[in-house]
Symmetry: C2
Subunit: 352 residues, 2 copies
């Protein structure tokens, strides 16, 4: 059952490639007769049957029942996308649509949402984009408002458009004036820095320099610490085109569909899965059960991290049935990730 490429000669691989391509385009188990008609193979059905038997022994294909053709297994798809696939150049129409959507950043639209919708719309599958990591998120303004019961509402603005808010619990009740002062102080020293470095700086301040700070400054720093402590901002993503998945017959089983949509609304599992792609640069693919999540059993995910200034800040993906046109989707996801990264680059956006 080793699906090592060396166990197979060129012809078998070629045949597997044709088989997978054929299955992807037709959705029907493909038999020896059909493949025998392929001019590039030019083999008789009987020979093809022999080769297919080999492929089946290696676990690359299987037949749903005795007298149906063969369909690729997960390993078969894996081998296909890893070694056999010939990626197609992107459709020019798609390129322009992506470019339009992701380069011109008009005010109210959020790039992440646009990217997600584009992924879904142009692939007719589901698109998902994680929100970018805080590393590229720069503090623009911070402010505190008093609530009752020792609670403080923190509002902070990042980059251009995003406004975040959080409620923190403080050790005592503060007056509006005190909080205003704290905000002004923090603004003066942390504006323009990214959230990660702020967090580190805050921690350092708290450890090192207590004596050279006055009480108000200390309180302000404490509040900043509460605001930016890790995990404060739970990860999230923007999903689009889920309903497209309902049209695929291989996913339209009620229970599968339910599991899938439940996974989408719980988010957590999806986040974990996508996070695995943050390590690698470029496109990565999860085929069927490879994901390890039952909900995605008959799905494939084509993911790519996206980066700003050479640093990975998030992940995007297209989710569809295992039987998808990988040769198109892969370059598509790749390009989208790059364009999104570029669109998020603070240098290319208007200065503060």
């Amino acid at each position: 059952m080793s699906n090592n490429t060396r166990d197979l000669n060129e012809r078998s691989l070629q045949l597997l490639k044709k088989l997978v391509e054929r299955y992807i385009s037709d959705g029907q188990p493909v038999g020896s007769r059909i493949l025998s008609k392929d001019p590039e193979l030019n083999l008789s059905p009987a020979t093809i049957r022999n080769v297919m038997a080999d492929l089946e022994e290696l676990g690359l294909v299987r037949s749903p029942h005795t007298s149906a053709g063969r369909v690729p297994t997960v390993s078969g798809y894996r081998l296909f996308v890893d070694s056999l696939l010939t990626v197609k150049p992107l459709d020019t129409k798609d390129i322009t649509r992506l470019y339009q959507g992701l380069s011109e950043r008009d005010d109210t639209s959020d790039v992440i949402g646009v990217a997600s919708r584009l992924l879904a719309e142009l692939t007719q599958m589901a698109g998902v984009v994680t929100l970018p990591k805080r590393d590229i998120v720069f503090l623009r303004h911070i402010e505190f408002l008093p609530l009752s019961h020792k609670r403080v509402l923190v509002i902070f603005v990042t980059n251009e458009q995003e406004v975040h808010n959080k409620i923190i619990h403080t050790s005592k009740d503060f007056s509006a004036a005190e909080l205003q002062q704290a905000g002004a102080y923090l603004n003066s020293i942390y504006c323009g820095r990214n959230l990660s470095t702020i967090r580190e700086a805050v921690l350092k301040e708290l450890q090192d320099d207590r004596e050279r700070m006055n009480q108000a400054m200390l309180e302000a720093i404490k509040m900043a610490q509460l605001t930016f402590e890790s995990g404060s901002e739970e990860d999230d993503y923007v999903l689009a085109g889920e309903t497209n998945l309902m049209s695929f017959s291989e996913l339209s089983d009620r229970d599968h569909l339910k599991k899938l949509f439940e996974a989408f609304s719980q988010k957590q599992g999806v986040i974990h899965l996508l996070d695995q792609s943050t390590k690698a640069q470029g496109v990565q693919i999860f085929i069927g059960e490879e994901s390890g999540y039952q909900a995605f059993d008959h799905c494939s995910l084509v993911t790519s991290s996206y980066s700003v200034s050479d640093e990975v800040v998030g992940v995007l993906a297209v989710i569809g049935p295992t039987r998808m046109a990988y040769e198109k989707i892969i370059p598509f996801v790749d390009v989208t990730a790059k364009l999104l990264g570029a669109a998020l680059n603070p240098k290319s956006t208007s200065p503060l």
Copy 2:
């Protein structure tokens, strides 16, 4: 085809009631034999057949095919919920769950989301709650930040927790200091007032009193106008438990399901539908096609507006198959609406 109640005698109505109840609990077309066994009716199958024929003539029931018993039509359900239904008191377990979830307002949780999730969880259908109208939304703090290109980022905080933001286009570029001043001015005069009255006041100012304001005040008012102009805050809702709907066989048709979920993600249609309930106090029901939206053809919505200080501020609903246990859902929605209204009442929450 008039389904006037007067066309029917007590017995026929009683029989219709039994029939609908039976169909709701079993999901099978109900025939004369089954109903004849009901001790309260105590009629022979033949008599029941006669009555059923009458009901069918009036359009209250229909048979899927010649020998298949009867199922209620939309009119049948309508008559049932309007005149025949005997509502059941709420399950005590449900009451306590609702009470727990909606009375204690801890910090981070949003009541609207909790309400929506409770509706879904306790009914095992989908729950939806519209965000409350701005009339009960009080301005707590407003602030402006400069962006590039004559744009200004407005952040305003309402009630306790909610932070809103919006980008407005101004006639010229303002400095941070100017904007701060404008914010301070607006805070001083509009804090604590609700958004509707602010909008009116702003418009009045712009018309009446131009001469007695200085330039800065005028600019501030103009910005407030842009911020609070109507339609600025598009309506929205929180949905929960959509996936529950996938379990109902009568909705599990692929196309219907797709339409339904598309309607959910586009939101707009749902909002329109729910808005119709803002006029009435109390529970309202849309059965099947009554909603006018194809996506909800085989669904019923049990809606109720919810009010704060006797003013309707939003709508909540349970969405499920037409064949749902109305006698339980109706009081359930009713109570949830009342509890939510109470939870939102600013008087009962901690003061500013």
